[in-house]
Amino acid sequence: MAHEEINLTLQVWRQEGPKKSGKFETHVVRINTHMSFLEMLDVLNEQLNQQKKQPVAFEHDCREGICGSCSLVINGRPHGPMQGTTTCQLHMRHFNDGDTIWIEPYRAKAFPIIKDLVVDRSAFDRIIQAGGYVSVNTGGVPDGNAIPIELNTAKRAFEAATCIGCGACVAACPNASAMLFTSAKVSQLALLPQGRPESKQRVLNMISVMDKEGFGLCSNIGACEAECPKGISLENIALMNREYISANFASRRVPTK
């Protein structure tokens, strides 16, 4: 495979801390097109290190698209220009010599900036803590094959469960809504027989915490689905809405969180 060298101009968001004001900083890098986007940032940081300057803080870990740590907005799009691709899986062969690339953090009220490109996404944890589980303790559960689950149902639950919790849906949404994230978990557990007993309480509690955390509402724009690196479907939001309405109408339950 040809390894081509290209020159890029980077406009990188720099912000020292949550209360500081930030600005774009310009850097020029010469890189190899076979690198990943994050390896390109490694090159920039090595360059900054040589100049005894502060490296750019960005979040990353597995670098294979599954941990959900990486979180950049690249040229205005969460995780960059490629469909179904996390930032860490984005390779530089999709860019051209002489390109200018704008790199920003996710921007949402519920995701405050910690430093540079790093944001605090712990609100997602709190949504899960509100009910994104089946209330079973370890031990004393039935045999794994005791309840057969229809293949397609299992598949749909699995597809919803593949959400990596990266927050691209929030960053893509003009309302900074977390409906896609929340609905993925609600759907997974609502589809499976193991999740049914608590489904009403779950959806009420998770939506209540979602609202409290400062995420916006859904106005059916669909940017979340378009930018989701894992292709989580909008159908999950529809399913969650049905669950929510039925929980509100059909029961006397109120959110307990």
Partner: protein, 668 residues
Amino acid sequence: MKKLDAKIPPGPINEKWTKYRSTMPLVAPHNKIRMEVIVVGTGLAGASAAATLGELGYNVKCFTFHDSPRRAHSIAAQGGINAAKNYRNDGDSVYRLFYDTIKGGDYRAREANVYRLAEVSGNIIDQCVAQGVPFAREYGGLLDTRSFGGTQVQRTFYAAGQTGQQLLLGAYSALSRQISLGTVKMYNRHEMLDLVTIDGKARGIIARNLVSGKLERYGAHAVVLATGGYGNVYYLSTNAMGSNVSAAWQVHRRGAYFANPCFCQIHPTCIPVSGDYQSKLTLMSESLRNDGRVWVPKHIEDVEAIKTGKLKPENLAEDRRDYYLERIYPAFGNLVPRDVASRAAKNICDLGHGVGSSGLAVYLDFSSNMKRYGKSVATSKGKENASDAEIMTWGREVVKNKYGNLFEMYEKITGEDPYVTPMRIYPAIHYTMGGLWVDYNLETSIPGLFATGESNFSDHGANRLGASALMQGLADGYFVLPYTIGTFLAHEISTPKIDTNAPEFAAAENDVTIRINKLLSIKGNRSVESFHRELGVKIMWEYCGMARNEAGLLKARDLVRKLREEYWTNVNVPGTADEFNPELEKALRVADFIELAELMIVDALTRNESCGGHFREEYQEEGGETKRDDENYGYVAAWEFTGVGVDPQLHKEELVYENIKIALRNYK
């Protein structure tokens, strides 16, 4: 000097755990609520342990350096999880899983621990299903399984190519529930930097709040490490960028023995290194070897023709391909254990048959199985006369359903379509069998300090079988540690809440402060990254990787010592201690990797035999198989820290095989 006591319960192997569990000391509910336990790490082993301890009523404090517990590297495990359910009626049993694991580990694991692991394996599947983990299923709605290396039964449960993700999210959900109930207090973005011992017992940790940079003290009656493996000592590995040895290394420095550090697993099917800038390697799941066939061109002229682009590998005639695993190991074929497959790949590349620009790759080819599946679809559709193209399209669909995400991942990285052109793969560091020495209770040589999952050494000997890491992590966390920790805590019920103002806490915090200030004050000329890369790629992979020999190891030890000296005089760590500072985090981790590297080399030098992933070139059978020396090296090497740059002290735990006849490992 302390004697190593593995505390293996007496009695026949199949009764040990049941009897022990029924007679071990317990902590009553009213005492549990007064007892505090620290769990460090939120991967499969940590999240499951923290959740279960919380359910039992303990007061748990749980720590991760990540921004969320769900980011732990267990999330990236792909292929599956083993369990002796025998749902397939193919002759599986607890004994067979036990036997396969001991044999796969090249007879260097502890029988009693492995048997217990096999015993509880079935419970894990039940537990995960109850949590809503969406495993792959058959048309009838029951759970599906597939094959993995080193076995002849199909006992691997899976969720497409992202089983680790689904299991971890299950454990994370159980943990989240306990957090919401207040039994677990979660500390995200907190990195453990030291262990605090009081009167010889583990009583707390010093953690750095990674957002504020402040050092914080946390006390508990017992401490559990579930901090993963140390594969990143090689810089390039399939581990996540943040995976590190620091917690385990710090407790080693405080007196916990480190066992078999030279036992590292090199996974045969990873995407090959493509350039010097590369930051990590990506695994292609072992499950692919179910349907993928490994080959290289039989003739050197074809190797050349492919390299120069004159010939496409998919067009090379069948009789000009060498399916070398099927040829050398007919009984297990492409599903030999990882160490065997990796060495075979290295050997065939060393003979000049390797493909790709570097010559360091072999093909993993799905075409013959796509064809087979396609034909079966044709039959079920009643289309006996389907064209080859139609057959391949249907076959492609079947393969896509099984491994779609892996194929996509490969395509994104390499820019090649693996449905058409066979994947290029090469071995890479993936897992570490060595780790903190633990007894049957999973307690280290420091009382009150436990280690679970990959961070301990106990179950996989010198080579781990595929789909067994997930099994071990969850077995330890859900079904073993929550019981065995009671053997320690039952004697602590009158110990009051640990006072973090104790001088031991102040001393440990001071040690950490000194280390951090030292690193920040050097202001040298090289980045942390450059040291890490040199350590991993230039020294460890070169001399302590897939093949090792005495001369190379001696040289490596010398190089590591020089690198350590340079590190502490020439590293540049920008920024300050009191801020969010990823460079400082990395600097602390790399300092520990450098110290660990020397221990690994010493261990590899001392073990004058080849076994599992540890291949000493001086000790090989004809045909390049490992040559074990059971008489002299049938032991666990547990190393005691005696100072930086000083020879560590070796303690031996002799391995006794009462239930399995120790034999030459044969996969032919």
